[in-house]
């Protein structure tokens, strides 16, 4: 099969790295060649973060370019607007509706754009989910990443057990039940 490209975008500190690790493990378990690319360092300090995940029979480039992503999984709505140009024609945007103000908005140097979901929906196939509310429903605001993995899982042709197994292998035992609940809430979100 040809290479599939997924981007996970968000704000430093939101747990995007755990989500990409989880996804990588799921894909590896399916026997794919997998490449993941992330940037550490400066971007962790509340900055815009992006992880590229690519899989298929044989993957070359570890990065995804503009117009190449089959799926963008976004942890924050402004980041969806920032990265939408990376979505290919006919690709899918799965986005959290959560808003985290960047410093230029906090200082008043810039305005946070309005009606982003509506605008993006006119541009692409968009699924918007309030992952923060679902995470809180599952028991912790920190489970936003697993909720979003749940949302993603519904759109990928991989058995549910494979996702649950990867969650078991990735999250600490004492948070397992909460994370499983978060995953289910995301998976069943409309």
């Amino acid at each position: 099969m040809s290479t599939t490209s997924i981007m996970i975008v968000g704000v430093g500190g939101q747990g995007t790295l755990l989500a990409s690790k989880l996804l990588g493990n799921v894909l590896l378990g399916q026997g794919y060649d997998v490449k993941l690319s992330e940037v550490h360092g400066m971007s962790q300090r509340g900055g815009s973060v992006v992880t590229y995940v690519r899989y298929g029979d044989k993957v070359y480039s570890p990065i995804v370019d503009q117009g190449e992503a089959d799926i963008i999984l976004s942890f924050e709505i402004l980041e969806s607007a920032r990265w939408i140009s990376y979505l290919r024609e006919g690709g899918m945007l799965l986005t959290n509706t959560q808003k985290t103000w960047p410093m230029p908005v906090i200082t008043g140097a810039a305005a946070y754009p309005e009606n982003i979901v509506e605008k993006l929906s006119a541009m692409a196939d968009v699924t918007a989910v309030d992952a923060l509310a679902l995470a809180e429903q599952a028991g912790s605001a920190k489970a936003v990443n697993v909720v979003l993995i749940g949302v993603l899982s519904r759109r990928m042709d991989i058995p549910e057990e494979a996702w649950l197994k990867a969650i078991e292998e990735t999250v600490p035992a004492k948070f397992l039940e909460m994370n499983k609940k978060a995953f289910e809430l995301g998976r069943n979100a409309r």
């Binding site: 704000v11 430093g12 500190g13 990588g24 493990n25 590896l28 060649d33 997998v34 490449k35 993941l36 690319s37 992330e38 940037v39 550490h40 360092g41 400066m42 971007s43 962790q44 300090r45 509340g46 900055g47 815009s48 993957v59 070359y60 480039s61 570890p62 990065i63 370019d65 503009q66 117009g67 190449e68 402004l78 980041e79 607007a81 920032r82 939408i84 140009s85 990376y86 979505l87 290919r88 024609e89 808003k99 103000w101 960047p102 410093m103 230029p104 908005v105 906090i106 200082t107 008043g108 140097a109 810039a110 305005a111 946070y112 754009p113 309005e114 605008k119 993006l120 541009m123 605001a141």
Partner: protein, 608 residues
């Protein structure tokens, strides 16, 4: 067995498999994880050195002792290690020695994008360049073989996309190497002129022999396909070329210094157009042109700046790019910021208020240069703050010295700030140095350093006291302040600035992200007391925001309110502060800024 591994993790695996016993490094993005991962293998002794020069010298010593040795550094770290490494090229090795240098094209977290291949050429060291994690592990083994066969340290060059990408690695057993006996050989190991003159001959002979190796080694390979275009490339660029032109012919270079001539000429003869794809400088291209090999495209197509990608290659080659739609409205940037509760925030708020000239340094506190603090005047390299403050105040005199400070972190101070302080005392400076001691090496992701009292393995060790070092270096005015107390910090800075002697203020509070630093409950706002004066916004805390009193249900200020506050507060007081309780750690810095007592601690909130 295959495992998904970060490039850096794969380098560490390669070290383990190759029987490496000694690793010494200074952290630097994107090289840091190699040493952290190497430390997880019991068979490898691994440590954080105070800087790259010491790390490289230690690795040379371990090689002399007969152990396969290693050090890792970021590209600018090679500048620090260059002194020992240029001469290590002359004295060679006993057991194999490998140095990994991680370049950062695109400057994801660096102050420049120098191309380390120049160092390999200048120091006459062989250099290998892997493309992915699998090659990271395999090339380490190859590097040790070359090191021992050709009696030379070998450089392994990665870049951000190789170091911080994960791909599959085939795991092998460790090839345990016994210590190679050390035999005294001053003619080889004492780089005094009489010996070095002879060693230089050996170095040149070695480079000729390595050039022969370049013509035969499997590290370089030809992949023939469609011969209309032939690409010559290496490292991560190889992957971009294969992505953009899967059917083209490619000459992939794994040994990037020295480069082959004959094989590249043969390849050029087989293809219609020869295109060289390399990030940063045109080193392969220059080599080809110098040897009279036809180049039909290179730096003229791809330029000298930043990273390449599959689309950049497609575009430069005149291919159609994938279609995409961009968001049609300006998307505000999201620059990295100091974390909520960051101990640097209090200090930079004071520096910003006092309008001082701040000679900065490398670390999280470089973020003090961003809005709204805008408190940093210069950042050059590790340790430069102190040297620059000395030169600056010497030339501009007492008045400037009373209005300028050097700002440097604890780990950076240990790395290369100490000699700067020695210079202040020796050359009768009156500069003021602020050492920001947050008890950890922060920006690279929490590594221990000589001041923290813990080793790489978190074992207790002697905690070097910065105040003792400064006093021993001849600084008489040394004091400690807590940046959380902004009034006391301001008073201390004013007092030291007015002194006609060099002084050091240690601004001490541990990083908020350290596990033992507990967050306090988030603060709240008393909306009746908040006058909307925005004083609290001066600290640049991501947890404080101003929301329109009119009340957007999602707490977003209206465009009018944003425009008003931006244009100087036409509707001053129209919006009020609010706190994001999910990220506030209750540090209380905002409370110190507020003249109206609008910030409430949780217990006060309950009492009301």
């Amino acid at each position: 067995m295959k495992k998904l591994m970060l490039g850096n993790q794969a380098v560490a695996r390669g070290l383990y498999e190759a029987g490496c016993r000694f690793v010494s490094s200074y952290p630097g993005t994107p090289s840091t994880e190699i040493t952290e991962q190497a430390a997880l293998y019991d068979e490898i002794y691994a440590e954080w050195a105070p800087n790259e020069k010491v790390a490289a010298e230690s690795a040379v010593g371990a090689s002399l002792a007969g152990a396969r040795s290693f050090c890792a550094m970021k590209h600018v770290g090679f500048n620090v290690a260059a002194d020992p490494l240029f001469t290590a090229s002359y004295i060679g090795v006993n057991a194999g020695m490998v140095v990994c240098v991680a370049d950062d094209p695109g400057m994801h977290s660096s102050q420049n994008e120098q191309d380390s291949r120049h160092y390999a050429i200048a120091a006459k060291l062989p250099m290998l360049e892997p493309s992915d994690s699998g090659e990271c592990a395999a090339f380490v083994g190859e590097a040790y073989k070359i090191s021992e066969a050709y009696d030379t340290p070998v450089v392994l060059r990665t870049c951000t996309r190789v170091a911080h990408s994960q791909s599959l690695v085939e795991l092998h057993e460790r090839d345990e190497k016994a210590l190679k006996p050390y035999e005294r050989n001053p003619q080889k190991y004492v780089a005094a002129p009489a010996n070095a003159v002879k060693r230089h001959i050996e170095v040149e002979k070695r480079m000729l022999a390595l050039s022969e190796l370049a013509e035969t080694t499997g590290l370089n390979r030809e992949e023939m396909g469609d011969t209309a275009i032939g690409f010559v490339t290496s490292g991560t660029c190889y992957l971009y070329v294969k992505e953009a032109f899967p059917n083209a012919s490619v000459f992939k270079l794994g040994l990037v210094n020295p480069l082959p001539v004959k094989r590249l000429r043969d390849f050029a003869d087989k293809v219609d157009r020869l295109i060289v794809v390399e990030e940063l400088d045109g080193i392969i291209e220059r080599h080809l042109r110098m040897n009279g090999i036809r180049v039909d495209g290179g730096k003229d197509l791809f330029g000298l700046l930043g990273e390449l990608s599959q689309n950049k290659i497609r575009a430069a080659m005149g291919e159609a790019l994938p279609k995409f739609a961009a968001y049609d409205e300006a998307v505000p940037g999201r620059p990295p910021v100091m974390c909520p509760g960051c101990p640097h925030r209090g200090l930079f708020t004071v520096l910003s208020k006092l309008k001082l000239t701040v000679l900065g340094d490398i670390g999280c506190y470089t973020l003090g240069s961003g809005a709204p603090l805008n408190a940093v005047d210069s950042v050059l390299c590790m340790g430069a703050s102190i040297g620059m403050a000395h030169g600056y105040t010497k030339m501009l005199g007492e008045e400037a010295a009373h209005k300028s400070v050097a700002v440097i972190g604890d780990s950076t101070f240990m790395h290369s700030g100490i000699t700067g302080v020695v210079n202040l005392a020796y050359n009768k400076s009156i500069a003021t140095v602020l050492v920001l001691d947050n008890s950890i090496t922060g920006m690279t992701g929490h590594q221990q350093n000589p001041t923290t009292g813990l080793t790489l393995q978190n074992e207790p060790t002697y905690p070097i006291r910065i105040e003792d070092v400064c006093r021993a270096a001849g600084i008489e005015r040394v004091r400690v302040v807590d940046p959380q107390d902004m009034a006391a910090t301001e008073a201390a800075i004013k007092e030291e600035l007015s002194a006609d002697a060099p002084s050091v203020i240690i601004v001490r509070r541990p990083c908020q992200l350290l596990k033992y630093v507990k967050a306090k409950p988030p603060l709240a706002i008393d909306k009746d007391k908040c006058k909307g004066c925005r004083s609290c916004m001066k600290i640049g805390c991501p947890a404080i925001r101003f929301t329109d009193e009119g009340g957007d249900p999602e707490g977003m200020p209206s465009r009018e309110a944003t425009a008003a506050s931006h244009s100087g507060g036409l509707r001053r007081g129209a919006s009020k502060a609010s706190i994001d309780p999910t990220i506030c750690v209750g540090c209380g810095l905002c409370e110190q800024m507020c003249k109206f007592g609008a910030f409430i601690k949780p217990e006060e909130k309950e009492a009301r």
